[in-house]
């Protein structure tokens, strides 16, 4: 599903974000990416959806050779991914339903498919009843659930989450993780970068720890491993 071979990235200011990373993540895995701020987690995540290109190495995601993609192929590659951000990134002037449908409309999905699929993911995140509300009327946890619904509405095989619970209280974070867990059980690979010790420890999933641009730990049923 994800294969990185000797991937390195140094920013133009000389800051080394990743150095010689090699890792494989299989289909159906649930993986946490942990590490202190500035360790390279964000760079790692952004490379996966080709927001940032590595300087060297090879990267395969969902069967695409990411570095060999032409600009015209990138959108089609991204359709195989679902991306969730810490700050939700919902459109304030559209309802919950419209926010989710938007992700399908802009890739020109058939109208009937949009209706069906949006209702399906709304049920999955438990927000069917709030479909007509606007993001500002929702709590943080609910907004993140909308963002997750939007990320999975196009049936991606890999969901990438960058600090998905960073702005949420522990109870809400736990609910969000349960949703990711549910998505993962249906066969979707989930990769979440997080600082949330409680969540990581409780989930007992694979944990990859990055420090100073290197992988320092890769445990199959790991714990967060840092003192918060």
């Amino acid at each position: 599903m994800i294969k990185m071979i000797g991937v390195s990235k140094t920013y133009s200011n000389g800051c080394v974000a990743l150095s010689n990373i090699s890792i494989g993540i299989d289909k159906g895995d649930f993986v946490f990416l942990v590490g202190p701020s500035g360790a390279g987690k964000s760079t790692f995540i952004k490379m996966l959806f080709r927001e940032i290109l590595p300087d060297s190495g090879q990267l395969f995601v969902n069967g695409h050779n990411v570095l060999a993609l032409s600009n015209a192929e990138v959108p089609f590659f991204r359709r195989t991914l679902g991306i969730v951000f810490q700050d939700y990134r919902l459109l304030p002037n559209r309802t919950v339903h419209e926010n989710i449908a938007f992700a399908m409309e802009v890739i020109e999905a058939p109208h009937r498919e949009v209706q069906k699929q949006v209702n399906y993911v709304l049920d999955l995140v438990g927000l069917r009843g709030k479909a007509r509300e606007y993001p500002a009327q929702l709590s943080g946890g609910e907004q993140q659930r909308v963002a997750i619904a939007r990320a999975i509405v196009n049936k991606p095989s890999l969901v990438i989450a960058d600090e998905p619970t960073g702005n949420l209280d522990p109870d809400t974070s736990w609910e969000i993780m349960k949703i990711f867990s549910r998505i993962n059980r249906s066969g979707t690979t989930v990769l979440a970068a997080t600082h949330d010790k409680a969540v990581v420890d409780a989930m007992k999933k694979r944990v990859i720890a990055i420090e100073c641009g290197r992988i320092v730990r890769d445990d199959v049923k790991g714990a967060y491993g840092y003192e918060n």
């Binding site: 959108p75 590659f77 409309e105 802009v106 890739i107 020109e108 058939p110 196009n154």
Partner: protein
Amino acid sequence: MAMRIRTFEYFIRETFISLRRNGLMSFASISTVALSLLILGLFLVIVLNLNHMISTVESQVQVSIYLQDDLKEKDIRQLGTEISQMPGVTAVNFVDKNEALQKFKKRLGDQQGLLTALGDTNPLPNAFEIKVDKPERVKAVATAASKLKGVEKARFGQEVIEQLFRITRMLRIGGFVLIIFLALAALFIVVNTIRITVFARRKEIGIMKYVGATDWFIRWPFLLEGMLLGFGGSLIAVFFLSQAYSALTNQIYKTLTFLPLIPKYPFLTNVSIVLMIIGTCIGALGSSISLKRFLKV
């Protein structure tokens, strides 16, 4: 197919939402485009009309030979024969000074009042109007005729044509500079309007990119918006230009009937189509520039 129509609907809806959201900038863009195109249109109409006049005058391969006032009838007849024997001359017609005055009065139409100031005197000379077989011979015939004894002056369209050419050339150069300047201004303001639109929608654009919308899907609404601004401006320009030209032709036909203006139709329709195409192109070009610079997709 249904899908395509929905996509198109989406583009149209998004385009109008942004036009409304940036009302003031849209208005400014449309006005600037309209002003530039109106001026372009005016120059176009004037230059084309001058060209039309030139060709009208040129097609009249006629030389007027004005005679001195004190000639006897015999001398006049003698001159007529000489002239008719010149190479290239196909017809010689004597115009008596009284006949010439009548003609002139007729041409003035309603404004005969102008002549009352002259009282009983007739300022017009006796003349020969001669036809020549080819336009390029006009000048030679006129020069030769003017050297004959008893001839005061030989005139042909050349002077008028040269005068018209001079005016057209000046208008073309001046107009060209002005139009380039105005087109750049219009382009600049369209670029900025689209930039503001792109900025206002950066969140949506970001999301569209993450979920895998194609670059063209993202670009189209902005491109349409620019084209619509340009087209809207051209419509306003076309409206004012048509009104102005109609008013002008009506006025000219009433008072200066001899001035050969190009008839309104289909001339005005053609000019309008040209302006609308140019307007739409300015809009499309403006948004393309803006998208290239401000929309990193």
